[in-house]
Amino acid sequence: MPKRTDISSILIIGSGPIVIGQACEFDYSGTQACRALKGEGYRIILANSNPATIMTDPDFADATYIEPLTVEVLEQIIRKEKPDVILPTLGGQTALNLAIELHENGILKKYKTKLIGASPEAIATAEDRQLFKDAMSEIGIASAISGSAHNLSEAQAVVSKIGLPVIIRPAYILGGKGTGIAETEESFNDLALKGIDASPINEILIEQSVKGWKEFELEVMRDCRDNCVVVCSIENVDAMGVHTGDSITVAPAQTLTDVEYQKMRDSAFACLRRVGVETGGSNVQFAVNPKTGEQIIIEMNPRVSRSSALASKATGFPIAKIAALLAVGYSLDEIPNDITKKTPASFEPVIDYVVTKIPRWTFEKFPGTPDILGTQMQSIGEVMAIGRTFPESLQKAIRSLEIGRTGLNADASEAVFDKTTTARLLKSIALPSSNRIFEVESLLRRGQKPEKLSRLCGYDPWFLHQMKRISDARTNFAAQDFRKLSARDLKAIKQLGFSDAQLAYLAKVDPEAITSRRHALKVEPTYKMVDTCAAEFSADTPYCYSTWEDETEVVRSKRKKVMILGSGPNRIGQGIEFDYACVHASFALAEAGVESIMYNCNPETVSTDYDTSDKLYFEPITLEDVMNVIAVEKPDGIIVSLGGQTPLKLANVLPQKLILGTSPKAIDRAEDRKEWSKLCQKLNIPQPPGGTATTLEKALAVARRVNYPLLVRPSYVLGGRAMRIIYNEQQLAATFNEVAGIGALIQEGGLSAERPVLVDHFLSDAIEIDLDALRDTKGNVAVAGIMEHVEAAGVHSGDSACVLPAQNLSKSTLAMLIKYAEAIAKELQVVGLINIQFVVRDEQVYVIEANPRASRTVPFVAKAIGVPLAKLATRIMLGESLDSLKSIYDFKVNGQKLLQRTKPKRLVSVKESVFVFSRFSNTDIVLGPEMKSTGEVMGIGENFAEAFGKAEVAASFKIPNAGFIVITVADFAKQAILPIARSLLGMGFHLIATKGTASFLQENGIVVSQTIAKVSENSSDNIVEFINNNEVRLLINVPNGSTKAQTDGYQTRKAALERHVFVVTSLPAIKAIVASMQESRHRRHVVRSLQSQ
């Protein structure tokens, strides 16, 4: 059926900020959908609060609303735009839940708009676990025995029927939040209560545990003619019991016979039809009993999911794009397969390689949270690797993770596992963790049998035997002189995915020795293409991966070409913002007529979409792998400054003449503490006093010179990894040991004279400023954004809310900031972007650091001012001047050297950070210098209060009208809290305060409704109890600086978090929130599309 002509406008709902379980895969899917449907001539209206996405670029929709994703706001957008239909299946669980709410609140009916892609009934059947199970049993598909419950007694009745162990899942949640396996009655009661609480409809499903069964997923699509196809099958290496998002997964399924696979396929289609997904993509999960082959269905998502992004990248089949086209009436056979061009999309992709996905965890960011994996997802990002065999793709995936590993062991980091006794490792592998696969390899190398290990860790023996090939090959390699190996033997070990670095470790030589031996023997990688059809048809889309075989099929073009190194897996500190910048670079190259070659290993991103760039290399971002592609493509330049720290780390070792933009030497000069201080002195720019240290003694010496408090941080890390504010010597000693010690940091490089710890005096109560600027080869500088942080200095810039334009800086301070920025950019001979951080106290400007590369704030600034910064940076790196780009990108540079759109925007923009604390229940939520946020939202308003209010709502704060507000603040903040408390009282809230705070408020004439005890004052009737038993709207808690786990504040914040109470912990944020609450009383939420601004 051709596309629908009865509709002309479509509202697409995005997924909001990056959180665990909902990452940039939904930017990928939303961007594809916007592109596809806009290409069909529909008017696209987009709602998404996340400014760091490509989809919220104004070019991708006709009306882009960067507004909070709430039903109230969506109603405003619907009222204004009157979309004919709403497409909610591409924005993750967020969009699906909003769609259901719009339906239930009668808003769809009121504005005569309908859902496409999934009906409310289908969503309900798929999402409500009991409805789903009933539906499945109706069509004869087995699922785990289960029952649902809304309270503890119902739950206990259900479990008495099923028997322990059981798995508990809350209804309507994403990423397995609140899910757990209960093996004892006690843990059952605990998990049941938590689960009921986590579910937005207070419902849990209690299910027979199939822990240890094999887990599979099918990505399926259906069109309006009832044509169904499987796009990809995925097998989890980790058995049931580990959330799919936290499992190592492989595509296609490896251990199913055709009979078993076809049975699963039949069930998936039957499920799709019964649930009623009329068009689009779904993900269906199965568990298989390895002993009997018994199959049960676990769940299905009637929408594009994280797995669909993986399946799209794994096969080259663009699920989101096709889902969008199916939703407007096309059938699969009417849509061409983009990759072959000649064949239609109504087929099932087959692949002739193995894809491995490994999650990227960030446990080191959350001290107190054990590295144990379970049914609740904890990873922040993931990598994917393609190899012709499982061993090859597994090892490539591991080295893509950037956790300091060069493959499946065979590097220095294996020592920790090899030193552990067999008995302990055998015990350890029964518990899933981020290191389990390395422990398993260590055991295999000791001669432990795959079948035995399989019983312990749940990996299928097939995977273990394949891993054993890696172990055997390394043992064999290490026993020989590598110089005597034949080309055929060297190739054979490379075919198992070994990196030169691993082989060098085994041969006890430098990696260069292996590499040059390889070159001498002409053992070089070959590049194959991902083509959806296992080479049955010729492919037009160069989506490439390396392997070690006979033939390279990639053809180098004669065009001028530039390679962009991407940012690798998402993690805290390096997220979607850098992918955004890389994608823009690719677009800018296209606009400049230069061939773009994208190089990345993150399957969730827009950058790894095959049609983002002219060519895509899906490869690990390591020196060896990058050099190999350089040898094949011979690019004219390489962009390393847009993908964050990952590509930057390679800048010094790649061929220097190929690096575009600011020279790696200048980057080092900004990063090297001594050089940087010299530079600041030369330019006469004040810095907070400080120094560097590689030992504790040196650090103490610096401390004596500059005085406490101190800001202590390692060099060359993003996201303030291990950054701390230090108040005394003991803290300094502890922190220094942590920074210098074992763990992830050492894997990222460790301490050395080149990578010392930076020790600076910390300026408390100062305003922190983030500045992004551009400089071209002619020396012209334009300042794109001066962002004022809402939180005081000391909170990591990636965690602090910030506002653009700055609200509290004098004209002379602004002029000073611009002057300093220009001087620094000139001195570093910056070509492209530079980000500089300043602090301002009492009109005095100090520079903290400068990074001559794209910063996290680039997409936010670009959207706030309406100028595509990363594109400008890319064109500048190609040698073009700011002046020559003005007409192309519609901007000007004003008298103050500020970059503006030709018709400047007059609105205020606020960026707020979004956290995942509730996943890491033992981590405190007080912000500090180490970055902990995963995502960001943007609020746009006429003034700061409106913009900030929107940003907070977008970050899930429900602006209250009445109710309880709990206040407990440290002494230093008591005076400052008075006016705030007064206005809250004036707005009609009931103030509840702990003893000290209450008496201070009362002394100052403020009515406190109830005085409550701190936890330490009364163990049974206290602030935590109050939060648990009352509807608290807001918790204002300014702690005194200690983050020790068991303090009162910690327990209070933890309770608030568990009860979904919004917590504010810094004075500036509290002031801003209260201002926004007042502002919101005066007017309704006003929505403005980017295009109208």
Partner: protein, 354 residues
């Protein structure tokens, strides 16, 4: 493993390691198959007689070999080419490894081949005769040169049953002409009929002597033009009972109806081919294995009912004069998707109507 090589008739050489049977030379027509699962069914499908099967999926043998999934009594393929064979396998039904099975049936295999390069080569050059094994390159080249391929050669007689036999106990009687019939087809028919399987060269009298309610023309290997005896028989059977043909059976029915067939460059071998039912526009994902196809313009007393959406090849036809229809693909699956199994029901209905 012993080093070995694959040599194609055009002289292209691929290096690898041999496993399975220890014979030093195996030759045949080299084709590729794109299904990632179902190697046991594929290798035991008599339609692969005369062919060396290249699997495009690199890991083959993962789930071993079991006692239930064979499509016939033996392996009819001449050899197996894979990218990465490893002896370990894992599946609760498995009883032996692929290597053990190949050794027992005296079929050789070669691993470590750049199967993607080979596939691309076949895609460009067409299916080629070739030889592989541990023999010297010279010997392999000679064997490849001598290898005749499949065009013009009758491979049916060698794979067909020599004696008639019956399966099932249904009320309806289906007589199947065995040109290389797969067990899954027999099982599908036996769900509703008593199936009498007759040798490929049976006469129409012999077929009609079994008083069939329906006649089934099976799949089988090689060139339909060499199965003239089959075409003669089918011509005489038209109109006597409803006829349903699959794969080679489809090509023979088309020939019996006056049509012609042609050898395709590299055929269709996979489990993911989109076939559209032209009467409903519904697209089914089908299992396919054929090197020859019916020429549409040659059809007179038949209409095309199904088409391959990848290349428009005729995938199904129906006689305009008789109750007879056929498909080029494999609705019985084994291996492959079950999307088209309803065709057996359609055959049953046709029998019940007449």
């Amino acid at each position: 493993m012993t080093p070995g090589a694959l040599v194609l008739q055009d002289g292209t050489v691929f290096e690898g390691y041999v496993f399975g049977s220890e014979k030093s030379i195996s030759s045949g027509e080299v084709v590729f198959h794109t299904a990632p699962t179902g190697y046991q069914e594929i290798l035991s499908d008599p339609s692969y007689a005369g062919q060396i099967v290249t699997f495009t999926y690199p890991h083959i043998g993962n789930y071993g070999i079991n006692n239930a999934d064979n499509e016939s009594r033996a392996i009819f393929a001449r050899g197996v080419i894979v990218r990465d064979y490893h002896e370990a396998y894992s599946n609760y039904r498995a009883t032996k490894s692929l290597d053990t099975w190949l050794k027992r049936t005296n079929v050789a295999a070669i691993t470590g081949i750049d199967t993607r390069k080979l596939t691309r080569h076949i895609r460009e050059q067409g299916a080629l005769p070739g030889a592989f094994g541990s023999a010297s390159l010279r010997e392999l080249q000679l064997a490849a040169k001598k290898e005749p391929g499949t065009a013009g050669i009758d491979l049916v007689k060698a794979v067909s049953t020599k004696k008639a036999y019956s399966v099932g106990s249904g009320k309806l009687r289906v007589t199947a002409l065995d040109y290389g019939i797969k067990s899954s087809i027999i099982s599908q028919l036996a769900t509703f009929a008593t199936v009498t399987v007759l040798p490929a060269d049976s006469t129409s009298e012999q077929v009609l002597a079994s008083r069939p309610n329906g006649i089934f023309l099976s799949n089988g290997p090689g060139d339909p033009q060499t199965v003239n005896y089959g075409v003669q028989t089918i011509r005489k059977l038209l109109g006597h009972a409803p006829i349903f043909g699959i794969c080679l059976g489809h090509q023979l029915l088309a020939t019996a109806l006056g049509g012609k067939t042609v050898k395709m460059p590299f055929g269709h071998h996979g489990g993911n081919h989109p076939v559209q039912d032209l009467s409903t526009n519904v697209v089914e994902i089908t299992s396919q294995n054929h090197n020859f196809a019916v020429i549409e313009s040659s059809l007179k007393d038949a209409v095309v009912t199904h088409r391959n959406l990848n290349d428009n090849v005729v995938e199904g036809l129906r006689s305009t004069l008789y109750p007879a229809f056929s498909v080029q693909y494999h609705p019985e699956a084994g291996p492959g998707p079950h999307d088209a199994r309803h065709l057996f029901t359609a055959f049953k209905s046709l029998m019940e109507q007449t």
